[in-house]
């Protein structure tokens, strides 16, 4: 997703010296500079899900993809449709082929004595439902796939 140096410049500052410079400081610390101001950043994790901390915000970025935003979104999608922890499937509202709107509860999980709704992260059509009521599901594995 990051092109070779010199192939373009979409950085916010239009001056030629506004290229972003990153310096590894060791132990997951990085210095990011636009030639004027600098900030500290932190990164960890595998290329397909690299975690970055910058100025109080956290991003999970797939750097294996050749292009930027779609991969980031797809990753968000997947994360949204998986359980964050081991849980039991209490109810399934999703059916393959059915249209759903952003915010619709697709699956209701139960864990830690609480109901955990898995909601549609965007409008779309259900492609696959990958669990059944009563299943013990593991974290990170998508339970529903949207088209």
């Amino acid at each position: 997703m990051v092109k070779e140096p010199g192939t373009g410049n979409l950085a916010p500052n239009p001056e030629p010296r506004s290229a972003i410079t990153v310096t590894a400081l060791g132990h997951g610390r990085y210095r990011v500079s636009d030639g004027q101001r600098q900030r500290l950043a932190y990164a960890a994790g595998p290329p397909a899900a690299r975690w970055v901390f910058l100025d109080g915000h956290v991003y999970v970025i797939d750097v294996t993809a050749s292009r930027g935003s779609p991969q980031v979104r797809a990753l968000h999608d997947e994360m949204a449709l998986a359980s964050p922890m081991p849980a039991t499937v209490a109810m399934i509202n999703a059916k393959p082929g059915r249209d759903v709107s952003q915010g619709d509860v697709l699956i209701m999980l139960e864990a830690m004595k609480m109901e955990l709704p898995i909601k549609a992260p965007r409008d779309g059509r259900v492609k696959v439902v990958a669990c059944a009521v009563g299943d013990l599901v593991q974290p990170g594995i998508p339970l529903v796939e949207l088209e």
């Binding site: 997703m1 990051v2 092109k3 140096p5 010199g6 192939t7 373009g8 410049n9 979409l10 950085a11 916010p12 290229a19 972003i20 410079t21 990153v22 310096t23 590894a24 400081l25 060791g26 132990h27 997951g28 990085y30 990011v32 636009d34 900030r39 500290l40 950043a41 932190y42 990164a43 960890a44 994790g45 290329p47 690299r50 975690w51 970055v52 901390f53 910058l54 100025d55 109080g56 915000h57 956290v58 991003y59 970025i61 750097v63 292009r67 930027g68 935003s69 980031v72 979104r73 949204a80 964050p84 922890m85 081991p86 864990a111 830690m112 004595k113 609480m114 709704p117 909601k119 974290p139």
Partner: protein, 496 residues
């Protein structure tokens, strides 16, 4: 003073108590469940005892396992922290039978204050107002609904036993009453094994203000002023501060006296907190007794930072029979302190608790900042327990100084590997309403959508550049000398 104390807890509060023990020259005994064998509190204690498998009921909630561990290690006292066994009066009684000091009030006081009904009665008898409410004798859904209508809507439906915000429902109209009652009852049953419900008048734009109490075994009771805990999401506190922007000196005096009166009426011992709901503002504001928490509060550090009193050390000294060393007149508030609770949770997904590895975890360190944490880099956040990782407490000469310091601290607090509420907390502390101090218990839920919306969005170019660079240069534990010679990598942009 005790020679050895067992800490019947985990996470940041176990770490906090172990450190207090070390400073007092008391040996500490940590207990742990199987998933916590590598946890920070286990590393820091002088002795450790495994007490069972991961599920709390089989370990941290097992009175028998904890008492056996105390017996085996010769511990003379047990500090329960908060949560788990801390408000279980049967456990306090069992400690007394076993001849181990319980660092908290006597069992009968815990029992009396643990029931909302008897606690409210006691407060009323001590001359303190309570919020209109009742536990209907007829607990059928219809009867509970009728009771709510009698008190007048809006109302709160909540489990008669319990805490932590679990099962509390806010009802504004009669149409949604029965659904709320059903849901509250199911959650109460699941969480506390008791579906008895309590209905209460909902005070709109009320503020949750609590008073810290200390009582020794020699008849002295002091209060350590208030904590403002109105910033809650679904009835769980996430930001606490002191002093409260809603409390005038005169109101503070009245509330402190009311809290002391409740503690005296209860025959209270050790540290406790009297929770009030404040309606209105100024010297003449009304305040209602809500409940008394018969243990250390999560948010105790803001009181410590402004009064200079070490509440955990005070708890241990009181339990060892020492008298309080200060009179009420000697206790003073100085400056302002704000605590934020850092949770492993995803604010973008209704605060779903998160579990996973702390790939990177670095605490900020700067003057005026205190971090009480229960984790270290490389730890695995388990799914079995409360997902609070740490608390960040900022002190400042003024509220704005403390607020800015808290924001600066959070901006320098990287936690990677699990989602946390750090970005959400920054947005909250920077919200104009918080900056002005104009908050109430409904604020977070009302502003949630706006605050969460700001968290979304694609990574900025800087973050993408770091991610890409990390991919090229992330040698395992690269020594600094190699890193320092690493040529600066320039990324000149990319296409969307």
């Amino acid at each position: 003073m005790f020679r050895r104390i067992l800490i019947a807890n985990r996470g940041e509060i176990a770490v906090r108590v172990i450190r207090a023990c070390r400073e007092l020259g008391v040996e500490s005994v940590a207990v742990y469940s199987d998933v916590d064998a590598g946890a920070l509190h286990v590393s820091l204690a002088d002795r450790t005892v495994r007490i069972g498998p991961a599920p709390p009921a089989l370990s941290y909630l097992s009175a028998n396992a904890v008492l056996a561990a105390a017996r085996d290690t010769g511990a003379e006292a047990i500090h329960p922290g908060y949560g788990f066994l801390s408000e279980d009066h049967t456990f306090a009684a069992a400690c007394a039978v076993a001849g181990v000091a319980f660092v908290g009030p006597p069992a009968d006081v815990i029992a009396r204050m643990g029931s909302k009904i008897s606690a409210r009665q006691l407060a009323s008898q001590a001359g303190v107002s309570v919020v209109p409410g009742e536990t209907p004798v007829d607990q059928s859904d219809d009867a509970v609904a009728a009771a709510a209508c009698r008190l007048g809507l809006p109302a709160l439906i909540k489990p008669s036993e319990g805490g932590g915000g679990i099962g509390i429902k806010r009802v504004r109209d009669a149409a949604s009453l029965l659904a709320a009652i059903g849901q509250a009852r199911r959650e109460a049953l699941a969480a506390f094994g008791d579906g008895t419900l309590f209905v209460e008048r909902l005070i709109e734009r009320g503020r949750h203000v609590e008073i810290q109490i200390l009582a020794d075994h020699h008849g002295q009771v002091v209060h350590l002023f208030e904590r403002e805990c109105s910033l809650q999401r679904r009835h769980q506190k996430i930001v606490e501060e002191t002093p409260s922007t809603a409390v005038t000196p005169r109101l503070r005096g009245r509330m402190g006296e009311a809290a002391s009166a409740v503690a005296r009426a209860a025959g209270y011992r050790n540290a406790g907190t009297v929770e009030f709901l404040v309606e209105g503002s100024g010297d003449k504001a009304l305040f209602y007794f809500l409940e008394m928490n018969t243990r250390l509060q999560v948010e105790h550090p803001v009181t410590e930072q402004t009064t200079g009193v070490d509440l955990v050390a005070a708890q241990i000294r009181i339990a060892a029979g020492e008298p309080l060393p200060w009179s009420q007149a000697q206790l003073l508030q100085r400056g302002h302190a704000i605590e934020v609770r850092l949770y492993a949770e995803d604010p973008a997904r209704d605060d779903l608790p998160q579990a996973g590895p702390l790939l990177l975890y670095r605490e900020p360190s700067m003057p005026g900042l205190r971090v009480d944490a229960g984790v270290a880099e490389g730890d695995e956040v388990p799914v079995y327990y409360d997902p609070m990782l740490a608390k960040l407490i900022a002190w400042g000469d003024t509220r704005e100084d403390a607020r800015r310091r808290a924001v600066a601290g959070l901006r320098g607090y990287p936690i990677l590997g699990v989602r946390t509420n750090v970005p959400f907390l920054i947005g909250l502390l920077d919200h104009p309403a918080f900056v002005s101090g104009d908050i109430d218990t409904g604020f977070v839920d009302a502003e949630r959508r706006t605050l969460v919306a700001r968290l979304g969005g694609d990574p900025p170019p800087d973050a993408l550049a770091v991610a890409a660079h990390a991919g090229e240069s992330m040698l395992p534990d690269a020594p600094r000398s190699i890193v320092a010679s690493d040529p600066w990598t320039t990324l000149r942009g990319w296409r969307g």
